[in-house]
């Protein structure tokens, strides 16, 4: 454990010490705040309901700007933090020296992951905090339940991004070149965020030709849930919509018109338990593979 913390501490101060990182951090903050600002704009235009949480899911288009931001840019943050974590050390010949010290190989993986998660948490909760400040200024004061939901939303977002971080770390173990692992990471991201949902409906349509059949709809839905972004989006929509009582393929705009009778937070969480478990499972699988592969790997260059 001390090894893990030592590695994490060093990585964290590494991040905080480079210009590249601060540049990246600034972009994320600007983008996140822009998204929150657009959310407020959407809210003012929509005038359906005045609720604090609506800030994060209010929409003028297809997707709420804030969710669009976490859904699409979150993974990029994860991949950017992890894609070179092990192979960079290999390329710089620091890995062999690092591992000649009394530290387990899994502590190295864990420490790097931990520092990445700390950065992600700092970014997400920082943005959420500032966005909430903006909301309060326009008169949207959250109640306790909404605040709790905001925290759960933040935690789910961190978990989602952590999954991408774990995946990109695995890639950094699998590939010796940092450029290869970066390309692989972004390719997987693109595949799941843009192509997986159409593929899922295509497969469902081929297996069950009747377009009105409920089985086809549920098959399509279950297939699409292989993608972490789908899992994440479904889960956070339930958390951000106290009135949502089921997970089904109703479109986002319809969600806003479900008869309002808000659920307590715990019941909302109950609704998405399996989603949370699945997201955690993805992180664990990436870790398990990382350990297994890294422990057996030749580390000489």
């Amino acid at each position: 454990m001390t090894g893990t913390l030592t590695v994490a501490g060093k990585e964290l101060s590494d991040y905080l010490g480079t210009k590249r990182f601060w540049f990246f951090f600034a972009i994320i903050y600007v983008a996140g705040l822009a998204a929150a600002y657009l959310g407020i704009q959407g809210l003012v235009q929509a005038r359906v309901e005045r609720s604090f949480l609506l800030l994060f899911r209010a929409t003028t288009g297809v997707l709420p700007p804030f969710l669009f931001f976490t859904l699409y840019f979150g993974p990029l943050l994860g991949v950017a933090l992890g894609f070179d974590s092990i192979n960079k050390e290999r390329a710089k010949n620091t890995l062999v020296r690092l591992l000649s010290n009394p530290v387990h190989r899994d502590s190295v993986v864990n420490g790097k992951f931990l520092s990445g998660v700390a950065i992600v948490g700092l970014s997400i909760f920082g943005i959420l905090g500032i966005a909430s400040g903006l909301a309060i200024r326009v008169g949207l004061v959250p109640n306790l339940d909404e605040l709790a939901r905001l925290v759960v939303f933040g935690a789910l977002t961190v978990l989602y991004i952590a999954g991408w971080l774990a995946l990109s770390q695995l890639l950094s173990i699998l590939f010796t070149h940092t450029s290869t692992s970066a390309i692989a990471g972004f390719a997987i991201w693109g595949f799941f965020t843009f192509f997986w949902t159409p593929i899922a409906s295509l497969v469902a349509a081929n297996l069950i030709p009747d377009p009105s059949s409920l089985e086809r709809i549920s098959l399509e839905q279950n297939l699409s849930r292989i993608s972490p972004s789908v899992l994440y989006l479904e889960a956070v929509l339930v958390i951000l919509t106290p009135t949502a009582r089921f997970l089904n393929p109703v479109s986002l705009s319809e969600l806003q018109y479900v008869i309002p009778n808000p659920l307590p937070l715990l019941q909302s969480i109950n609704l998405i338990w399996s989603h949370i478990i699945a997201l955690i499972g993805m992180v664990l699988v990436c870790f398990l593979l990382s350990y297994i592969i890294f422990v057996k790997q030749e580390i000489r260059t």
Binding site: S100, P102, I299, R300
Partner: protein
């Protein structure tokens, strides 16, 4: 006392290539052992296996009483390793790099700061303590590597080509540090291509060829074995030497062969008969300025081994 390093038929294969072939090595505690051998002979592979960084294909080994694969952390607390391709974190200063090593080894920060300052002085980097390693020359990195190894105060040091890229003054520093370590009871295993340096500090050397350890022992021992067989070699300095003198010495009882280059006579004999040879020279009216038994030079031994190799 148990040997610091013991291997039994240690073998490492990379596919069809046998990088290390049934190695049986014993390094005693408190000695400096030198690995010699051409590129690709298996020196680095052996060192990596000793540290548990590379898994042997077969064979057993014990390092400081530990099995490197079973108890890697216990072993790594006691072993300092200087890799052949040495890398540091470029964005960090020399001091920060060493502090990280100190933390990984559980050295308290107060101790670490003091020790780092002293070590960087010892390796001649006191001016570069707070410079980023990205600005370091190859030799400066190598010196920092030596400080990195010594920082953990290891019982065993595995140094893969410790002096490559270092200037002569720095080499002297490093070799001194290595010899001092022995005086503190540490064991050192080093690999090098610089025979003269190896000869200067190593108690025993091992010669690797194609994964096999073809010779192991002190330099005197190897010299006798390889070059002289059971002969004894004497060198005499005679400024006014002539071919006639060679004949005179050749007639001395016990002398096998005499050769001369300039004023130096090399005399192979069956035993140490320096007295008789000196008497013969002086009594024939020549000036003898020096007579000594021949010191084998490692490069001589080394090249003899490879002459033998290419013939067979």
């Amino acid at each position: 006392m148990k040997p610091a390093i013991q291997t039994f038929d240690l073998t490492k294969k990379y596919g069809d290539l046998v990088a290390v072939d049934s190695l049986n090595l014993e390094v005693q505690q408190g000695e400096i052992y030198g690995f010699l051998g051409p590129n690709g002979a298996g020196k680095t592979t052996t060192i990596l296996m000793l540290l548990g960084l590379t898994e042997p294909t077969s064979g057993r080994l014990s390092v400081l009483g530990f099995n490197p694969l079973r108890e890697p952390l216990k072993l790594k607390r006691l072993v300092g390793y200087l890799p052949e391709n040495l890398g540091f974190y470029d964005d960090m200063t020399a001091r920060q790099n060493l502090l990280y090593t100190a933390r990984l080894n559980g050295i308290s920060m107060v101790d670490a700061e003091d020790r780092i300052r002293k070590l960087l002085e010892d390796v001649g980097l006191s001016d570069a303590v707070d410079k980023k390693v990205s600005t370091f020359s190859k030799g400066m990195k190598q010196r920092l590597g030596m400080a990195d190894v010594l920082l953990k105060d290891p019982k065993l040091m595995l140094l893969d080509e410790p002096t490559t890229g270092i200037d002569p003054e720095g080499v002297r520093h490093i070799l001194n540090l290595i010899v001092e370590s022995r005086e503190k009871g540490k064991t050192v295993l080093l690999s090098s291509h610089l025979l003269y340096q190896v000869q200067k500090v190593c108690d025993r050397v091992g010669i690797f060829v194609k994964g096999r350890l073809i010779a192991s022992g002190s330099i005197q021992h190897l010299g006798k074995e390889v070059i002289a067989g059971d002969k004894y070699v004497v060198e005499a300095e005679v400024p006014d030497a002539t071919p006639a003198l060679e004949e005179i010495i050749g007639r001395v009882e016990g002398v096998v062969k005499v050769s001369r280059s300039g004023s130096t006579l090399t005399i192979e004999c069956r035993s140490d008969i320096r007295g008789k040879v000196a008497k013969a020279i002086v009594s024939s009216g020549y000036t003898l300025t020096q007579i000594r038994s021949h010191e084998y030079a490692l490069d001589e031994i080394y090249s003899r081994y490879f002459e033998g190799e290419s013939k067979s």
